[in-house]
Symmetry: D2
């Protein structure tokens, strides 16, 4: 086993998820590469030091640029608000480090293109860097199983995809104004935060989206920030879009941060001519499959529980149905990164695919503003 | 108790549902009026006679016009393919009979207007007739409970409505071409058949739909008819629409006759700022409610089972959770008709509301063909 | 079609269920025999007259003996408190009428034997009478499907049966003392009321029960009757029993009238070496099946929705998943009676089988009192 | 933060779960103590070395006694077959090390008493050792929430407990004979393996079990071992018991290793006079609660999803519904051990409680063999 040095920027909610995954990775997967928590960058030295201690990093640093430059850092992981991704990613690329960026890639397609330009410039002259985005839901063994089932042809011709990622974390009007409500820091609202997840899922399972018609809403137009100031919410609380995939398949996507009662409402239903598949992240260890090939009187949606037939599961537990949790998806994602670096394996979402997701989001914004169907380009 | 004479046209699937409901109505509701099965009209005398015997009607007739004219017929019930509704409805109105028409009202808005014109002409000179459409799903006690919950304000402000009626009865390409695949006899495909159900539900619970953008698909372009001839399917297998209600609420509606695995996939999710409601006709005796007013650590979607707090249920059974079936909805619908005639009570969907449903369907067709948002008018 | 005259004793909850079923039977099944509601017997003439009108009977009578004797009565249906069953059943048998008795057959095995003696005495000299008990849950098409699946051998060897019928209709201590709490009128409590249902289900699906060990409880020892008098509850609120079937299969049965939250908690889980089956009456149109024969990665409990592959369903509706309700089970039960009379078909539970159920209940009472395993005999 | 040295014996299925938990603990909980993976003992040096590397231990050793003696080992974790627990536990106690033993504690009550004797002997002369058993399911935040709900009195008087832990890992007769089928190595079969889990759950939530009547079965009497030898299965494949708790509450417990279709079928239903609670480990992030205090028309079982109101959850993720997995329970369990050592906090199951579980299991075996109710003592 060979160790590989991680430098993580950001120790918030998602930064902690990274830390747990890096620490657990070896015991779960045992290789090929083993991530080692070298440095954690935070906004000031005090926060960096205490977070590094708590999360198991060798050192805390207040200067992320310096951290990127350090020799013992092989991978730069970026877990900061969206508006910071571009600058950090480009800096890491220019320093010749592999990058692991939390979704969404950037504020918009334009920023994504700048990152890609930096990457291509680097790769033209140096050994190519590995780049992976943190779309952790795609790493669920049940999603891998779903992808296998689709690839096998068992669904027949796919005729419809309904997907959504809806939550209610901003449903209460008394929840304060945060960076997520600001166009400058977050870009879009629900679309970039959770919409990007269901868009990534749709494209991962069904393929490119070529045209769409979207509608968006701001439900709670003003929120009070932590200083007591009333501020205007600048981006959408909910959005929905009818889409067409490159294959011609009709689809529907929906996202919301005000969907009262939904906590992790990422799910989809895929209708095929021979079988249908359903998934709901709130029951993330289950996949529902209806097969027309079952005999009469024995047809029905079957609830498949995770087991060692689902890729990656065995590394966690040999026992079927002994389900995974949200944080486990990050461990699998980290392993994908390890395999990409060690073996050149493909990652679920690289920067190019991340840009495609940005393009769909940008097209949603445009379509909603013009109230018209738009091609994704 | 006073008896009232029923003349039913059509003894197919839905005609039989009518017959069961008329026969059972008295024992369930015990009044105010009691429907009596006087005459059943069918395509020829032999079929009419045997169906009348089997379904408990006094006589079978082959001439529906004659039946409408008969003195002992007070209500004309129309359970025939859509293309026949207009002529039969107008004839019944002109004969001064109450009308009970299976959904959808007609082939399109234009036909609906002709029926309304006949009704208004009659009512201008005579005692007004009762008119009710057979949108039986609205009669479910759980839907009545949902309507009560919405009316109570418990949901707060409604911010989203997702609805659908999807089934798979035409998913198998070997299913023969039927009248439902013909524009001339059926008008639209999935939209008129099941789409009308979810549109009626959306309007019943949320109010008028004022604009929409729809997309439609023919998945299986050709089917073989019962004579072995290959025929082109002329109307949509699936359709979806983003909508806006008069209240400004964002919504999404979907329908399909090729949704592999769905047998009675009529359902909705209503998101409110204080509570959310979910319903699925495949579990028609349940309503799911999430209330933000529950204490922390005790919040969650609650599965409410039908009981005597749900309107109409008590007439069937005093015991909670001893659920109703699909045919029971028709018994309740018949009782609504009895109460409309006896007491002037409102019906769930009258001819005017039925026309509004046709207008939404027509707008879907227009929007899909022009690939643009359209106002409903 | 030939008509057959029904005389019903009792117009309470279950009597009304009978009435609905008799009225609807013809339109649903169209034969072979058609039940006609001739007479309804109640406690006094006024109640009898009004109930007969409401429930669609030709006449109401206050003298059930007289009703039994009437020439136009072919079937005597008994829907009265348990303590009255024996006398009425014997009178009907002696009058040469077919009998249709609501469960449980009688207060205990001793009474059951008296009814059987009367029947055998009659049948020794006359054409044998048809006798059927009202165990309506056995008539569910999903239960018929379960029975077919078991008979097919698809489960392999059955190794365990867990069953229960638990409800909460007496969970609230303020619910008044009723005849069901009295040993003299009801016999046992939960055991005879709902326990008999799950015992009948267990025996219907798995076979005779040969030994058991039971435990019982009175949770609410006193209740106030409708006159305000505090009375001692004389029979069990809940009971459970480990059982062994004649086949050697291990089983567990449970019943309760104080199971907070359960409304129609009749259900079972059958474990076989090749497949397992699960059922819950609160979702009575579903059957859950796990098949080890499914390929790896495609195994899971499958939710089969009712459709025309399930016996009796097609008569109600041709459309799959358009589920039945509680009252529909009685229509099927009535049809079983019609077929027994017309064609000699077997009924789900006849008087002999009903006595076997009484024997299991009596053995439960004995076992609980002696705190020991007991053979059923 | 202070580090504490772990010496783990056994690197199989459950040993790996330990390793993942030790590695992840700091990043999740950040203290108070931080477990450090010092040594891993396995059957030979080669296996020990490679397992230590894969699971993140500093060294692998083939001599567990030597490992126990090492100065840098503060906690001895025992994850070996049941027959080895006693000797290892006593050795660790005598070496003055805290012990963390995988369930069940030992082969039977007699062995448990020997371990306790060693502990008491040690503690009489030295600082008392911390002792914890690995009943990980008790550490689920949903179980902690259930315990809080019970303690709050919200259920009213508890009147029934049904619990079970059933799986199907030995359902297939072709699964080879393993140590779990041997009395000498495993003691009981399903009872000790999974039965101990549901017994621990029952006692954790409801209190001591004072009497019981059990029944057991061997379904597959012979299995082939890995050398092709046909061997007799010596312990039960399934078992069930009616129990009475010290509080008088009636209960039922069941376990099976041949329950076709169940993968992690640990669950319970607790009936109270005011509310009822349900749990199923296959959906381990949900708890179902029915409250009679809900208004009429708004009563129903509520599905509570894990969130920061559930103890321990917040350490993993701030976002509600972002569920935990099976391995996360071990991380919480490890944290319980850390808090017990650092702060003297109580553990979910210590050696004394572990002995009580053994006593219930032994009483089940006795009761089944004598076919009689037995007191637990």
């Amino acid at each position: 086993m060979q160790e590989i040095g991680i430098g993580l920027i950001g120790s918030g909610y998602i930064g902690k998820t990274h830390a747990i995954a890096y620490n657990a990775h070896r015991a779960v997967f045992g290789g090929p590469l083993v991530p080692v928590c070298r440095a954690l960058a935070e906004i000031d030295q005090q926060k960096a030091t205490s977070a590094a201690a708590a999360l198991g990093f060798d050192r805390g640093v207040s200067d992320w640029q310096q951290m990127i430059a350090a020799d013992d850092i092989d991978i730069v992981a970026i877990a900061t608000p969206n508006a910071l991704h571009k600058e950090m990613a480009i800096a890491a690329i220019e320093a010749g480090k592999h990058i692991y960026i939390e979704k969404p890639l950037a504020l918009d397609t334009h920023e994504a293109n700048e990152i890609i330009a930096a990457l291509e410039k680097h790769n033209a002259r140096h050994a190519p860097l590995v780049h992976m985005l943190g779309y952790n839901y795609l790493c669920n063994p049940m999603i891998s199983l779903a992808k296998e089932i689709i690839a096998s042809g068992e669904l027949g011709t796919i005729v419809h995809f309904r997907g959504r990622h809806i939550e209610d974390y901003m449903a209460d009007p008394s929840i304060p104004f945060s960076w997520r409500c600001s166009k400058a820091v977050s870009g879009t609202g629900a679309l970039g935060d959770m919409g990007s997840h269901i868009i990534s899922m749709a494209m991962y399972l069904i393929g490119p989206i070529v045209s769409l018609c979207a509608d968006t809403d701001i439900i709670i137009p003003e929120r009070t920030d932590s200083n007591g100031a009333v501020k205007r919410v600048e981006n959408e609380d909910q959005a929905q879009a009818m889409v067409r995939f490159a294959s011609g398949v009709m689809g529907f996507l929906e996202t919301s941060r005000v969907a009262t009662g939904k906590k992790q409402g990422l799910g989809f239903e895929i209708v095929g001519t021979k079988a249908s598949l359903e998934f709901d992240q709130e029951r993330m260890n289950e996949l529902r499959l209806y097969e027309t090939s079952s005999p009469n009187g024995r047809k029905g949606f079957k609830t498949i529980l995770v087991d060692s037939n689902c890729p990656d599961f065995k590394a966690f537990c040999p026992a079927p149905g002994h389900g995974l949790g949200y944080n486990d998806l990050k461990i699998i994602e980290v392993n994908r990164l390890m395999k990409a670096i060690a073996e050149g394996a493909a990652v679920p979402v690289d920067i190019y695919q991340g840009r495609n997701i940005e393009m769909v989001i940008d097209t949603c914004v445009l379509s909603a503003s013009e109230r018209a169907w738009k091609d994704v380009r």
